[in-house]
Amino acid sequence: MTALPAATRSGSGYWLASMVSMLRWQLTSLRLVFPVLLVVQVLIAAGFTVGIGLFFDEVPAPVALFLSTGASVITLITVGIVVAPQLIADEKASGTYDFTWSLPCPRSAAVAAWVVVNAVVAIPSMVAALAVGSWRYGLSFQVNWRVATAVALVLTCASLIGYALAHGIPNPNLTQILAQVFAFTIFGFTPINYPIDNLPGWLASLHRLLPFYHMGVVVRDGLTSGLVGEIAVSYLTLGAWTLIVGGITARALRQRR
């Protein structure tokens, strides 16, 4: 038997190779869930765009634009914030979790791969949401280049929030419950699908500190003109949240047991 070649387990080449294999690993392990996820995502998007419209006698044009762009933001973040913690809680319960972290890969490569997986599910759903909106309400969007930065930032932030939740909380049951709470809060009580002015004052102030409202702002800014005023604060807030949740995730993942 020939001796195994000594592999260099450091450097950017190794990191990139690890990320690619983690990406393949994650995509393969999710292959059965993928179609379901995509269908559910598109249903959520279409559901909110069309279903909420029923509450109005006649949907005013700005509301329609808000709903459709809001639904696209929601599809961007549900996988990261709601589905991922549940998947990871399942992995913890079944032991796959420990196995994955025993693989000889930089953990940051695994996290980066996860953000890419999120993008693979979320971006098609986002496009579907916008398509449903333009079909149902005859909307036209005014896309500008900032949408790329916005989508990348929102996806990263949302994936890391989910990761921080899933990895930072040891008890999988608590993670599951929190994920459900997040789902309800995001769908119902977050000014993504409707203007922040609809909220009572205290909740609006709270949402100016939380990331969700700002996610809506930056993506909407990339898709429309005239709906969004100030974007610098939103980008800054989102950036800060990404750093915070990234830090929590890093801390949780670096720990040895």
Binding site: G47, G51, F55, F187
Partner: protein, 256 residues
């Protein structure tokens, strides 16, 4: 010592089994009841608050419509979500087999489930409605008929959920159905929205499904002028109850 022989039939035996099962069910579901109440408050009060946020401003007519939909909204999760999930869980854990091996008549066991969850769901439906009326500053015109209507609607919900979960052997399919129900009720049902706004095909579907009729019947008892006559809705609600009982009887009557 020879065991005393017991007569295991007749109305007295049925009644005793029913009371025993009721105690058994209450004791084992006690911890779940808090979840039940929370989910009801969310689906009832929480949902209409959410609708209000989406709408931006709520005028008094819309407020009345939303509030009068709350009783139905908050009764739905117990029957259509909680009971199927509990039964699916019982099936996985084996409790299901144990319960049916008890010497009580199966109809008494089923009746105990209906009684327990009907009784549990009504007070929270009331609380949700009061909260919503306060939030939207709506005055309802409640008639005494709300009591029999509430009992009937809650009974129908628990019966249909029970029948569904008993009749479908695969718990995952039951889970899927409950998820679809949540989604359908939240976004696509004429409970907080007049049915006229729905496309014709969906309105037709809803005239067959129970949700619209639950809402209409209850709305008729708590408001003036929104629902012309409750005849059809009452008939449909009773129809679903009977259908659920037949399904449950058919499944439970079989031996394995």
């Amino acid at each position: 010592m020879t065991p005393t022989s017991v007569v295991r039939r007749g109305p007295i035996y049925w009644w005793e089994s029913y009371v025993a099962m009721l105690r058994f069910d209450f004791a084992r579901h006690r911890a779940m009841l808090v979840t039940a109440l929370a989910s009801q408050l969310f689906m009832g009060f929480g949902l209409v608050i959410m609708y209000g946020l989406y709408l931006g401003s709520v005028d008094s007519a819309t407020g009345l419509y939303l509030t009068s939909g709350v009783p139905a909204l908050s009764l739905i999760p117990v029957g259509f979500i909680l009971i199927p999930l509990l039964i699916a869980q019982d099936k996985r854990a084996g409790t299901h087999e144990f319960t049916w091996s008890l010497p009580g008549p199966r109809s008494a066991t089923a009746a105990s489930t209906f009684t327990l969850f009907t009784a549990v769901s009504l007070p929270v439906a009331l609380l949700s409605t009061v909260l919503a009326a306060w939030r939207f500053d709506v005055s309802l015109s409640v008639t005494w008929l709300v009591v029999p209507a509430g009992v009937l609607v809650a009974l129908m919900g628990t019966s249909v959920g029970f029948g569904l979960a008993q009749a479908i052997p695969e718990p995952r399919i039951v889970n899927l159905i409950t998820n679809i129900v949540v989604f359908l009720v939240m976004l696509f049902s004429p409970i907080a929205v007049p049915i006229e706004r729905f496309p014709d095909w969906l309105a037709t579907v809803h005239r067959v499904l129970p949700f619209y009729h639950m809402a209409s019947l209850l709305r008729w008892t708590v408001s003036d002028g929104l629902v012309a006559s409750p005849g059809t809705s009452t008939a449909v609600v009773i129809g679903w109850t009977v259908l659920a009982w037949i399904a449950a009887a058919w499944v439970l009557g079989r031996r394995r």
